[in-house]
Amino acid sequence: MTVTIDDDLWSAIGDPTRRQMLDLLLAKSAGTATSLSEELPVTRQAVAKHLTVLDRVGLVHATQAGREKRYEIDEAQFARAVAQLNAVGNTWDARLRRIKQIAEAIEKTKAPDTTN
């Protein structure tokens, strides 16, 4: 299985407020920006922004509930996120591959001067 990790996911989970929000969503199985903001020391607007970030990386998904969106943890993506984070070495594998490509390309441009 190939696991690709993206910096967005690290960034999404790296924020303490968003981790608290994931905590609350796991505990309550669902929540809205309003209900989450009632339990966090941040504004509803800030919570809504964080939910957008979590939604973008697929950790939550939204359903329309009246005038508000109701968010739930996406269990499958959450499991994938865990797998990806466990495989954090893979991000470095990708970076190291790019380092290799770049260094070898630079070396090639220098080759005419160094082959003798």
Binding site: D7, D8, W10, S11, I13, G14, R19, Q20, L22, D23, L26, A27, F78, A79, A81, V82, L85, N86, V88, G89, W92, D93, R95, L96, R98, I99, K100, I102, A103, E104, I106, E107, K110
Partner: protein, 154 residues
């Protein structure tokens, strides 16, 4: 699951001098990490890695501080420490590149350490996933205690 260290080795068909420049110079860091940085390859040089996202040029900003820059054999830096804090063990990860001449090329030894020492999100998240009943708030102090044990071990 071991979070303490990531270790990799790879051969690169380029001289250690070229590899050193590739891993340490801002114009090349932009190519392989997709990040802009003001950090220079000099010990103590501190700055940021900056990723843009759409119309936000500073969508993701991470601190970076060079620990060692000894061309062409060693480049190491700490990163992901909180903005405004000096990089040290416990608040950042340490990335080390060792460059060893190998034939006409370079053996690049890479390591990143510091995950466990910090109670890094990967460990926290896995625990959280395995046991939904346990909150971050309960788990993080436990990791911290464990990290301190590690640090104080001889």
């Amino acid at each position: 699951m071991e979070y303490a260290s990531i270790d990799r080795e790879l051969h690169i068909d380029a001289s250690p001098e070229v590899v050193f420049e590739t891993i340490s110079r801002p114009e090349h860091i932009r190519e392989w990490w997709y990040a802009d940085t003001d950090v220079r390859p000099e010990p103590g040089s501190a700055g940021e890695l900056v990723w843009a996202d759409g119309d936000d040029p500073r969508a993701h900003v991470v601190s970076m501080t060079v620990v060692a820059a000894e061309p062409p054999r060693l480049f190491s830096f700490r990163w992901t420490h909180p903005a405004g804090e000096s990089a040290r063990e416990g608040n950042s990860n340490l990335v080390t590149f060792e460059l060893v001449p190998s034939g006409t090329g370079t053996l690049l030894r890479f390591s990143e350490t510091g995950f466990r020492e910090r109670g890094w999100e990967a460990a926290v998240l896995e625990e959280r996933y395995l046991d939904h009943g346990l909150g971050w708030d309960k788990f993080v102090p436990r990791i911290k205690a464990y990290a301190e044990e590690l640090v104080s071990a001889p």
